[in-house]
């Protein structure tokens, strides 16, 4: 089976699903939103998004777009459960955005069917997939922004064109690549870089989200640096949408945040681990507006 025929077969048979990972506001511990991530069956070409969307992909461009659209559709179908709790961060390939007129009605219909307002959707654009026509993309984004969509520049810091994208696309969010977060507690240079990028983004009207937070030390460092938001395995591995609506999920998210808060400000945060479940029950009713 060729890469194209394998993707086509899996798409036709519906074997594309999505998992979600929470994004946390570090000052309050509130969930800001959930990023949807494509999941395909193990041992197939869809088992790793990099096989299809990565630079070495052997899949035809038009099929990548079809898969991208199927992933967006799956994100909306499952993500509707999470919209009452936060924004829905959905990855869309630049190539799909550049041809958005072909898909716009389809997306609109999907949003209507799923009961998701465009204002609840943040479209993530990866820096890994660049365009030579940032002005054209900027115009497309402006039109979508008028409908209510917001944007995040994903994997920021990886590509050479990052600043150009930041300038032209005016994203509401900038997601700092995990490479800058890994071991940040041990690197004064990473800390200086992350703090400077955050300050620059704030001046430009974008909020920074640190990606790939995996332990208390990294989280603590980011909180000490006043980074607005974060996501990563430390707050929970990607899970089905339904999982994140449960009380268990609230605990999963809040526990690491409380631990870091307590270490950072011992006098201001709860001392007793036992109070966690009580607090999470209260915090599950956070105003998310």
């Amino acid at each position: 089976m060729t890469p194209d025929s394998e993707v086509r077969d899996l798409l036709l048979r519906g074997f594309v699903s999505t998992a979600f990972q929470p994004i946390i506001h570090l000052n309050s511990g509130k969930v800001v939103g959930y990023e949807s991530l494509m999941r395909g069956p193990a041992d197939t070409i869809l088992s790793n998004p990099g096989y299809v969307f990565g630079p070495t992909s052997q899949v035809s461009t038009h099929l990548i777009r079809e898969l991208d659209v199927a992933c967006v559709a799956a994100s909306f179908r499952s993500g509707r459960l999470l919209v009452p709790f936060g924004q829905l961060f959905v990855n869309i390939h630049i190539s799909t955005l550049m041809h958005i007129s072909q898909w716009q009605d389809h997306f609109r219909k999907l949003l209507d069917t799923s009961g998701i307002p465009p204002q609840a959707v943040v479209i993530e654009i990866s820096e890994r997939s660049t365009t030579h026509r940032p002005r054209v993309l900027s115009r497309i984004l402006r039109l979508l922004r008028r409908e209510g969509f917001r944007f995040a520049l994903d994997d920021f810091g990886l590509a050479y064109s990052g600043l150009q994208h930041l300038y032209w696309l005016e994203p509401e969010y900038v997601k700092l690549d995990r490479a800058f977060i890994l071991g940040i507690q041990r690197s004064a240079r990473k800390q200086a870089l992350v703090a400077s990028v955050t300050a620059m983004c704030q001046k430009l009207g974008s909020q920074v989200i640190a990606e790939g937070v995996e332990n208390t030390e990294e989280l603590l460092t980011l909180m000490a640096l006043d980074i607005p938001m974060a996501q990563g395995f430390h707050f929970g591995r990607p899970q089905a949408a339904l999982f994140w609506t449960s009380e268990r999920a609230t605990n999963t998210i809040l526990k690491p945040w409380y631990k870091a808060s307590r270490l950072l400000n011992p006098e201001e945060t709860p001392r007793d681990e036992e109070t966690l479940s009580d607090l999470s029950a209260v915090d599950s009713s956070f105003d998310l507006s």
Binding site: R13, G14, V16, S17, R39, A42, T44, A74, R77, S78
Partner: protein, 131 residues
């Protein structure tokens, strides 16, 4: 040639709505609202396509996967389409591994569903209207 399609959904309205849409001169559609009734039909009838919801009792269980396994063991010629209103990569993974022909996260467009049934060898009104 005549075909039998079994629809399993705990929402009777959905099951009967689909029955009305898929039934035709050569296609008989049977319905069941729970796994016990579905297994009884699978044992006694020669079903071409089993179209089942995954969560049949409204709990977190995945009874549709159990039906898939039952069909694979007892009537291996029956093709299985699973649907769910609660997309879950882990369930999708299992459905694929266990040999489901199709896995759909709801809402599913009717033309997509009818095309899937058509691809499994069962003609139906919808696929004939929209080739």
């Amino acid at each position: 040639m005549s075909y039998k399609v079994l629809i399993v959904d705990d929402e009777m309205a959905t099951a009967f709505g689909l029955k009305a849409l898929l039934e035709g001169p050569d296609v008989e559609v049977l319905t069941a609202v729970n796994p016990v009734a579905a297994k009884r039909i699978l044992r006694s009838e020669q079903i071409s396509v089993l179209l089942s919801d995954i969560r049949l009792s409204g709990t977190l269980d995945a009874e549709g996967l159990d039906l898939l396994q039952f069909a694979k063991e007892k009537c291996p010629d029956t093709k299985v389409i699973l649907m769910t209103g609660y997309g879950d990569p882990a369930i999708m993974q299992q459905a694929f591994k266990m040999g489901a022909s199709y896995y759909f996260e709801k809402p599913v467009e009717l033309n997509v569903l009818s095309a899937a049934i058509h691809n499994l060898g069962v003609p139906n009104q919808l696929s004939e209207d929209n080739p």
